[in-house]
């Protein structure tokens, strides 16, 4: 928490840089947060042996994330850019979970500091989730996340703590390389430095907060759109593959089952959407390819940038995008939703069960990258998908009860649970989440957290036996 407070000084500096007056709000938030953090550290119950097991890890992750969302909301409230805790927490949670769903009516009217803070939240959240999904969650074995490990290169100490530290350093190195690379390219293609940094944060974290009301539609430059598309795709890949690429180890990358599926889905979706658009809309061929590829990659990687209002696209294209919202990025990326590798396992599992109906005695093994997937893992994946869909359906039901129309409710929940951002209808690309009732915003904030922390981590806290001593 103290660190999080210190990080709030960054937007304060941005504020000073642009000669704006709201740096005091960030300074106050920073002091409050840091103070609470330091106090918490001192007050931490002495006498406990400090052992961090599975349950402690899950609780710390969930509660830490939630606390950050609340304290991160302070600047929004203090600067007066958002009124009401629900709005401020929604916006912060959307940033931290790299969702990119906003309740701000007019983004362009906000100070640079606020805009930077939103994008910076993405970047921090992305950093957190990469480490979480590759280093921590596989150890907890939630929802088949053992699959995410994808052979983290290098020596792996057995103890959790040094392993996370070691892995985190490598992954953050890659994260920073991607960030710097994209910022330089965007600057080259004509964006201002501030916009370039903000959009880069939104891209590598697959977040989706923009500095413009119309998102990337505001920059009508194919070069910029192409750059963002490429980096969104990279950010949706497993970061351990990037690490291998940096070491010149390309062999396992071409052969990676998940990457192949991911690329295959992206290409197929682009082809489908392009054909649909060519048949039913007035775009030129070049624009069709540009927008369809941008939108497909933006949605599957759960970024949520837009170059065009896809809500007015023909039904097939919208249906494809809705399905992609559930697929999500690769394991060990900053992308959200169910994840390609789980889709892989799910598909193989289903085919196997079909075959088993014909030959009940046959014993077959699900393989991923040639290696056998243990039975516990594939059943955990199955349970994950069922839990994910249950949360989706229940939340959708609740939103409908609050009066949202069907498409908006579906879009809102799919887009927040999958950490995408814009949905359909009322919460489509040209609108935002300000129209959702307060209680709905709390619910969607919860959805973002559930989706981001791989469902199990959050939901297991609700299991009655969780807090009891075993």
């Amino acid at each position: 928490m103290a660190v999080f407070g210190a990080l709030m000084l960054a937007p304060a500096a941005v504020s000073l840089l642009f000669g704006e007056s709201d740096w005091t709000a960030f300074l106050i938030s920073s002091i409050v947060t840091a103070a609470v953090g330091v106090a918490g550290a001192f007050l931490a119950e002495p006498g406990t042996d400090g052992r961090i097991g599975n349950r402690e890890s899950m609780a710390i992750t969930t509660l830490g994330w939630t606390a950050c969302a609340f304290f991160g909301a302070l600047p929004f409230l203090l600067t007066g850019s958002l009124r009401g805790t629900a709005d401020a927490v929604f916006e912060t949670m959307s940033g931290l979970t790299t969702t990119g769903a906003t309740v701000l009516l007019d983004v362009e009217a906000q100070s640079h500091a606020i805009l930077f803070w939103r994008s910076f939240l993405h970047w921090l959240g992305g950093m957190g989730i990469v480490v979480l999904s590759i280093a921590l969650l596989p150890g907890l074995q939630v929802g088949g996340s053992q699959l995410f490990r994808a052979e983290v290169p290098g020596p792996l100490p057995d103890r959790l703590e040094p392993r996370i530290r070691e892995t985190a350093q490598r992954l953050w190195g890659i994260y920073i390389i991607l960030t710097v690379g994209q910022t330089v390219l965007l600057r080259l293609f004509g964006m201002s430095l501030f916009d370039a940094v903000a959009h880069t944060f939104g891209t590598v974290a697959t977040g989706g907060f923009s500095t413009a009301n119309k998102s990337l539609e505001a920059w009508n430059s194919p070069a910029i759109h192409l750059t963002v598309t490429a980096f969104m795709f990279l950010a949706g890949m497993n970061f351990t593959l990037h690490y291998r690429a940096l070491r010149g180890d390309f062999e396992p990358i071409w052969k990676d089952d998940e990457l192949r599926t991911y690329a295959g889905i992206v290409l197929a979706a682009i082809a489908l959407v392009s054909m649909d658009l060519l048949a039913h809309s007035r775009y030129s061929l070049g624009n069709t390819l540009r927008h369809s590829s941008f939108q497909v990659v933006s949605v599957i990687t759960t970024t949520g940038f837009t170059t065009v209002d896809y809500d007015v696209w023909p039904p097939l294209s919208r249906a494809v995008l809705l399905l992609l919202m559930f697929v999500g990025g690769s394991a060990g990326s900053t992308g959200g939703a169910i994840k390609v590798v789980r889709m892989n396992v799910l598909a193989k599992h289903s085919v196997r069960e079909l075959k088993r109906a014909v030959y009940p005695r046959r014993v077959t093994v699900i393989r991923l990258n040639g290696k056998a997937v243990p039975e516990e893992v594939s059943s955990a994946v199955l349970a994950f998908v069922i839990l994910y869909l249950s949360v989706f359906l229940l939340s959708m039901l609740a939103l409908s009860a609050m009066g949202l129309d069907f498409m908006s409710a579906v879009g809102a929940v799919a887009a927040t649970l999958g950490n995408i951002g814009p949905g359909f209808g009322l919460v489509g690309p040209t609108c935002n989440y300000s129209a959702v009732p307060t209680i709905g915003k709390w619910l969607l904030s919860f959805c973002m957290l559930v989706g981001r922390l791989e469902v199990y981590t959050v939901l297991s806290l609700l299991v009655p036996g969780f807090w009891r001593k075993p």
Binding site: V363, T364, V365, A372, E375
Partner: protein, 404 residues
């Protein structure tokens, strides 16, 4: 000479005189004792050491040992592995029940059972008139007969033929069987023999042969399915008719029954044969049932212990005998002899050589050519002679070729 004592004890080994032994073979039931005995013997000065090692965990360790980094065990023998290799060879060559290559692969020895409808049944050996191969032995009712011109061939005889590679198969057709093409091979039992067998047959799967494994134990099934992507693993009791029929075991072109239990192996093998599987090979742990397998009509039986013994014998007969096939519990042997300059048998027409009654010179390999000998053929120095001999005639045969 037998010495009673712990084979891993240096004192016992010294009493046995390992320090000047040219060969030490350690074949107790314990891998560790065998390896230790070999290492100690090697340190003490033994020339060559052979250890029976079954645990695959030691494979890599011993690979290190055999490249000279850590001297100790020169050769390892794994009975299950050896048996699997034998079974694989029998399955890959569907027309013989025992089979081996000699003279570096130029010469084949194999055996067939003469069926009642075969054109060679009820004929005399001299009527066969085959110029490309030699009929070296007949196994009838458990006895080894050395064929002479007037020996009659009866249905049910097992005939052993030596010839140039590929040629004895032609004879195989004459012995009454069409060559079958392998499409499906079923392996019954996921024992360690089963594991090695799948490993040996896996290359066939790449060429479209379906490999089926029947195993009762769920864990073993899972482990096999994990290890071999191309293997079709079927979990079920292989001695249950229902399982065999549901999974179409009778549709296999060949079947290897390699379960842990001899009795159920025999039963399953018998069932498969009755169901119409053309080739059934059964692995047995003990030799005591062997004499009774005849009426069961099994195509071949393999005993890991015998397979291992054959492999060890191959190594022992080091200098002049290059490779060797052991037939049926050492009732007979096939020797491959490199004829030396000083050999008594050189330059004499075979009919005057006085080959012992229990031995037959199968073929001669001279400068890469395979020669089927006649009465006037002379053996020359440098020839490889493939000699079939029954156990009782071995000494005499060895003297003929100056064997140790």
């Amino acid at each position: 000479m037998a010495i009673h004592g712990n084979g891993a004890s240096l004192r016992v080994l010294e009493r046995a005189g390992v320090s000047d032994a040219s060969l030490v073979i350690a074949v107790t039931d314990l891998d560790e004792v065998n390896m230790l005995a070999c290492i100690l013997a090697k340190q003490a000065g033994a020339h060559t050491t052979i250890a029976r090692v079954r645990d695959p965990d030691y494979d890599t360790d011993l690979a290190l040992a055999s490249d000279g980094t850590y001297p100790g065990v020169d050769v390892t023998i794994n009975p299950d592995h050896q048996a699997a290799a034998d079974i694989a060879r029998l399955i890959k060559n569907p027309d013989s029940s025992e089979f081996d290559y000699l003279a570096g692969g130029k010469v084949q020895i194999l055996s067939y059972t003469v069926e009642p409808g075969s054109p060679v049944a009820h004929t005399h050996v001299r009527e066969l008139n085959i110029a490309t191969a030699t009929l070296v032995a007949i196994l009838r009712n458990g006895d080894v007969l050395i064929p002479r011109g007037d020996t009659a061939i009866c249905p049910g005889d097992k005939v052993f033929v030596v010839g140039r590679r590929g040629v004895p198969s032609v004879f195989g057709w004459r012995a009454g069987r069409e060559a079958t093409r392998l499409r499906t091979v079923s392996i019954i039992g996921g024992s360690s023999i089963g594991y090695y067998l799948v490993r040996a047959l896996e290359p066939l799967a790449a060429h479209g042969v379906q490999l089926k494994m029947f195993e009762k134990n769920a864990e073993r099934c899972r482990a096999l399915a994990e290890a071999f992507p191309r293997l079709t693993v079927i979990q079920g009791d292989p001695s249950s008719l229902e399982v065999l029929q549901d999974e179409n075991a009778e549709g296999s072109d060949a079947s290897a029954v390699v379960g842990d239990n001899d009795q159920s192996n025999l039963l399953t093998g018998y069932l498969l044969k009755r169901m119409g599987v053309p080739r059934v090979v059964v692995a047995l742990k003990r030799t005591e049932y062997l004499p009774f397998t005849g009426p069961m009509d099994l195509d071949a039986t393999v005993v890991p212990r015998v397979s291992a013994a054959a492999a060890i014998l191959k190594i022992i007969r080091g200098d002049h005998v290059l490779s060797l096939a052991l037939l049926k519990e050492a009732q007979a042997e096939v020797l491959e002899v490199l004829v030396s300059e000083s050999c008594h048998a050189c330059h004499i027409p075979l009919r005057d050589l006085g080959v012992p009654a229990g031995a037959v010179i199968g073929v001669l390999v001279r400068g890469g050519q395979v020669i089927v000998p006649r009465g006037d053929t002379r053996i020359l120095p440098g020839d490889h002679a493939i000699v079939f001999t029954v156990e009782s005639a071995r000494e005499e045969t060895a003297r003929l070729f100056e064997l140790r």
